[in-house]
C-alpha cells in the first residue's frame, strides 16, 4: 500500500480536484439556498465529497466512517427533522433589515479565512520516507482503543447522556405540568 504514501506528497490527482470542487459547490448551496430541504441535501452532498477526498488521501477507514456515520446517520437525521417539521422556505423578505448583519458576518468570516489562508504555506509537506505506511483499520482500532480507552468510554456515556437528555426534555415540556 505504499503508493498511497505519495498520494499526499504528489500533485493533486484529478479525482481530488473534482471532489474538492463538489465539496465547495455543495457548501455554497447550503449557504445560499433558502429552502431547508435543499440545504439538507446539499449538506449530504458535501459529506459525500469530503468522504471522496478522504479516499483520495488514502485514509479509507475515515472515509468509510464518514459515509456510514456522518452522511448516513447525521445528515439523514437532519433531513428527517426538516421533513418532520416541514419547515417552509424562509423567503428572505426583510433582507434589508438583516443586510448589516449579513455584511458584518461576511466580513468576519472573510477575515478568518484570510488569516487562515495566510498561513497556508506553513503547512508541512509530507515526509518522503516510505518506511511509515498508511495504517490499516486494525492498526487504527488498536491504537484508538489502547491510547484513548477512557475517552472512548466517556464518549459512550456522553451519547447515552444526550439520548437521556433528549427524552427528558421532550417528556418534560410536552408531558405533565410540573408544579410551578
Amino acid at each position: 500500500m505504499n503508493q498511497a504514501t505519495d498520494l499526499i506528497a504528489g500533485a493533486p490527482t484529478v479525482f481530488m480536484w473534482v471532489a474538492s470542487f463538489f465539496a465547495i459547490f455543495f457548501a455554497l448551496i447550503v449557504f445560499v439556498s433558502s429552502n431547508p430541504i435543499s440545504c439538507a441535501v446539499a449538506l449530504m452532498g458535501t459529506l459525500f465529497s469530503t468522504a471522496a477526498l478522504y479516499f483520495s488521501l488514502g485514509n479509507f477507514f475515515v472515509g468509510a466512517i464518514q459515509i456510514l456515520v456522518y452522511a448516513g446517520a447525521i445528515a439523514v437525521l437532519f433531513v428527517f427533522i426538516v421533513m418532520l417539521l416541514d419547515l417552509k422556505p424562509q423567503k428572505l423578505k426583510n433582507l434589508p433589515g438583516r443586510l448589516p448583519h449579513f455584511l458584518f458576518s461576511g466580513l468576519v468570516a472573510g477575515l478568518l479565512a484570510l488569516f487562515l489562508f495566510r498561513t497556508i504555506d506553513l503547512v508541512p509537506k509530507a515526509t518522503e520516507d516510505s518506511s511509515a505506511s498508511i495504517l490499516s483499520a486494525t492498526q487504527y482500532a488498536q491504537y484508538f482503543l489502547s491510547q484513548y480507552q477512557v475517552p472512548f468510554q466517556a464518549a459512550g456515556l456522553l451519547v447515552f447522556g444526550a439520548i437521556l437528555g433528549a427524552i427528558v426534555l421532550a417528556r418534560g415540556h410536552l408531558g405533565k405540568k410540573e408544579h410551578s
Partner: protein, 101 residues
C-alpha cells in the same frame, strides 16, 4: 501548481469559514446547526490531512470522536428544536431573544 496538502487545507478552510458564515446568517436553527456540521467537516479534513502527513493514528481517532460528538449534539439539538417548534411554532432564531441586556 499547489501541492495536495495545500489544496486540501484550503478546502478545509473554505468549509470551516462557510460553516461559520451559515451559522451567523441563517435564520432557521436547523440550518445553523448544519453550519456547525460544515465547520466540523472542515476540521475533520485538516485532521485527516495531518494524519496522512505524519502517518500516525492521532488524527483519525480525533475524527472518530468528532463524528461521535457531532452525532450526540445533533441528536440533542434536534430534539430541542422539535420542542421549540411545538411550543413556538417557528424556529427562526430572532424570536428567542427574551434573555438580553
Amino acid at each position: 501548481m499547489i501541492a495536495t496538502g495545500q489544496l486540501i487545507f484550503s478546502v478545509a478552510i473554505f468549509l470551516f469559514c462557510f460553516g461559520a458564515l451559515t451559522f451567523f446568517t441563517k435564520r432557521s436553527a436547523v440550518v445553523a446547526l448544519m453550519g456547525i456540521e460544515l465547520m466540523l467537516n472542515g476540521v475533520n479534513l485538516v485532521l485527516v490531512q495531518a494524519g496522512q502527513i505524519y502517518k500516525n493514528a492521532e488524527g483519525t481517532s480525533l475524527v472518530l470522536f468528532v463524528t461521535l460528538v457531532a452525532a450526540a449534539e445533533a441528536a440533542l439539538a434536534l430534539s430541542i428544536f422539535v420542542i421549540l417548534y411545538r411550543k413556538y411554532g417557528t424556529l427562526t432564531l430572532e424570536n428567542f431573544r427574551s434573555l438580553k441586556g
